[in-house]
Amino acid sequence: MSPSGSRKTAADAAGAGSSISRRDLLAAAALGLATAPALAPTIARAAAPQGQLTYGIHVSLAPTWFDPAETQGIITPYMVLYALHDAMVKALPGELQAPCLAEKFSASEDGLTHDFVIRSNAKFHDGSPVTAEDVKFSFERYHGAAHDVLKKNVAAIETPDPTHVRFKLKEPWPDFLTFYSSASGAGWIVPKKYVEKVGDDGFKKAPVGAGPYKFVSFTPGQELVLEAFEGYWRKTPAVKRLVMKVIPEESTRLAALKGGEIDIAYSIRGELAEEVTHTTGLSLKPVVLQAPNWLYFPEQWDPKSPWHDVRVRQAVNFAIDREGMNKALFLGYCKTTNSIVPYTFADYWQPPAAVYDPAKAQKLLAEAGHGGGFDAGLLYCDSSYSNMAEVSLNNLAAIGIRLKLQPIERAGFFGGYAAKKYAKGVIQGASAAFGNAATRMENFVVKGGSFAYGSYPDIDELFPKQADEMDPAKRAAILTKMQQLVYEKSIYAPIWQLGFLNAVGPRVGESSFDRISGFAYTAPFEDLTIKA
């Protein structure tokens, strides 16, 4: 339950800069210098973080999420990392690669050296300053999903002085900053001395970071309690205490939000989300994730297949009623797209908007010699999103392309997708993997990509060129050309970037939802406020 006192404190916190009235100042002047020391603590108290916000979390929190060294390639741990820890460079509102613990950073012209200067007021929760040794230690300690690719490319880390870190690469690697800033936990800094003192397990039990919130307690399967870190470099958090309660059942989360037991509920979908919009005091907070969904045609490289004709693939693109599907399934909160690259990724190229035009789709099919339609086999999909696939299936049936739905349990589906088991038919795929336009092309478009069932030589030729190109503008131009070719060839029929729906209660002022593009959860935490 939220303490009643927090409402008053929220007012203080929200207006920290103006919480001393003219009357206070006049009174202080009248009382003379003797009262000045008394007033000083008053100022400090007014600016101090106060109140409590309680979260209803949809997944069980794992202690591995408290340690940046263990972050796998999933977005969920960042729900906690953004509160407890800080990175040298990370995404902030309006900026994908914002300087954080690093005050500034630069790369040499040959792309072999990356320099970082640490912010002078960056401190850990135990009061110790963030140093170059901590940065080097954190990088070397990292063993999460991107460990191999980082270690393969980084030759050495130098620490010329306590505030200066230099990464030397084996060869130019334009994606270094992408992986160091957002696609891994390697750039999230932990205190070397503390970790060495308590060990890896001890660190997970009582993590110390440089983020806006300090660790207070964690009860597995129940809750995580955090407290504002007043020495945080960016700003002092406005809310004193955050409690993240694990409530796995969606209806229970909504009930807890309605009853005022929690203030922020993650993941409220479908009819429950609609109920939020009809409930006084509650607000729905949709976030568009960096997770596009698409239809993929693995037979397009087979000259005997109808999918070999680009007009058939273009017909599918015109046949899908994205907006209708969006409204029916996600209250219209997904972002329809015509690209498999999330719009938040670096070097994203904005393609022409997807158009729903079944008449044009039928015309294209007829031109391709399939006016009567054809049997296209199976439509493979992750069973969690079979509702989407059903709509696509109906849309395609309307223009004569007949498919049978083959929903497969999530892990099995992605395993089969990667193992290239679905070579016949159509695949409804998705990816929420971190990266940029180049990493997305690498995995899904170019020859040898984990999820590419075939490739086109002109796109393949461009890929190594962009990887060797150190001029960002020239590299972006190559990646743009690649994305244009993907669009022109209709290799995919993209559908949308998934909407993640959350809800907040009446006490929440700034919820910090959707402030960082593509990020599912609340961040930056230091910007959270409670209403007066």
């Binding site: 339950m1 069980s60 794992a62 202690p63 591995t64 263990e70 796998q72 390639g73 999933i74 977005i75 999903a145 460990h147 191999d148 690719v149 997970k204 009860t219 597995p220 399967g221 129940q222 809750e223 309660k245 694990v246 409530i247 796995p248 059942e249 209806s251 229970t252 009930a255 807890a256 309605k258 009853g259 037991e261 997770a291 992750d382 349990e409 999530r410 892990a411 099995g412 992605f414 395993g415 990667a418 795929g429 998705a430 990816s431 929420a432 993997a433 971190f434 995995n443 899904f444 984990s450 999820f451």
Partner: protein
């Protein structure tokens, strides 16, 4: 007697061995846990790294051998998801499950026994019909539905009780009722049939012929004897309650063993699923062993016959 106990203990070990084989291989049929630890679209290298980290790249029989070797040393392995020993996770959650199960059991006995007695003394009457209806609902309504209706009424509409979590007595009421109702129905049915058996026996007829008041006959003479099978059932049910409250604990975010199992299944956390099932199975096997031994102590025909 000694031979009897040795044989029963042998059966227990055999049961646990078969359970370990079943759960070990069965849980692996559910799919690859690595794919749940990466975002869709992750590279093969990422997935291979996770396989290696958790030892899932080894042959199945080697994995099973290592599992059994650890189990023999009291080690249930390390959770893939929480990255802590499963024993620690289990023991952290067990007190919560014991508390919930105890309160739910208390409620189920409090409701089930009196209603069973009332039904048995008025066969075909109002209380019998009401009891049958109560038992039918308790046994047929899914506990998640009961839980959600309770939350809707007592948390959302009335605001009397917290919808989820733990920590106070108020947190216990709804999950204990949702869990206890099913068992209350089962206890009610058992009490009713047991009471009917006893009420039809010769010594009860004699007591009635002697002119004893019906209340005294029921409470003092019939109830005590009718209670024995009910309490035996309650003992076994208590162990089941501790280990199978998966749905109730999930709906009410109650941090017990059932939810741990749910989490293990959700994340394909093989060590957690294996550990939770083995521990639950061990509890049931031990309780059954104790009951068997007690029966043998009480009834020589059992130990001699065997």
């Amino acid at each position: 007697m000694k031979q009897y106990i040795i044989r029963r203990v042998g059966y227990c070990f055999l049961s646990l061995f078969l359970l370990s084989v079943t759960i070990f291989f069965f849980v692996r049929v559910t799919g690859d846990p690595a794919t749940l630890l990466v975002e869709p679209g992750a590279s093969d290298a990422d997935i291979a790294a996770i396989h290696h980290q958790f030892g899932l790249d080894r042959p199945l029989l080697v994995q099973y051998g290592l599992f059994m070797w650890s189990l023999a040393q009291g080690d249930l392995g390390q959770s893939f998801y929480y990255q802590v020993p499963v024993v620690q996770l289990y023991l952290d959650r067990l007190p919560n499950s014991l508390l919930l199960a105890s309160v739910a059991m208390g409620l189920s006995l409090l409701i089930g026994i009196p209603s069973g007695i009332l039904a048995s003394v008025q066969v075909g009457g109002f209380w019998d019909s009401a009891g049958k209806m109560f038992a039918l609902l308790g046994l047929s309504l899914p506990s998640f539905l009961v839980g959600l209706v309770l939350i809707l009424v007592f948390s959302v509409y009335l605001g009397w009780l917290p919808s989820s979590g733990s920590g106070t007595a108020l947190h216990l009421i709804m999950p204990a009722f949702a869990l206890g109702w099913y068992f209350a129905a089962s206890h009610m049915r058992m009490t009713r049939s047991s009471m009917l058996d006893v009420l039809g026996s010769e010594y009860i007829k004699l007591a009635k012929l002697k002119g004893l008041p019906q209340k005294l006959v029921i409470v003092k003479h019939a109830f005590k004897n009718a209670l024995i099978p009910v309490l035996t059932l309650a003992g076994v049910n208590l162990v089941i309650m501790v280990n199978v409250a998966v749905v109730v604990e999930t709906v009410f975010a109650w941090p017990g063993v059932g939810r741990l199992l749910f989490e293990g299944i959700s994340f394909r956390d093989f060590p957690v699923v294996q550990g939770t099932v083995i521990m639950g199975g061990a509890m049931i096997v031990i309780v059954n062993l104790l009951v068997d031994i007690l029966y043998a102590v009480i009834d020589p025909r059992i130990r001699l016959g065997s």
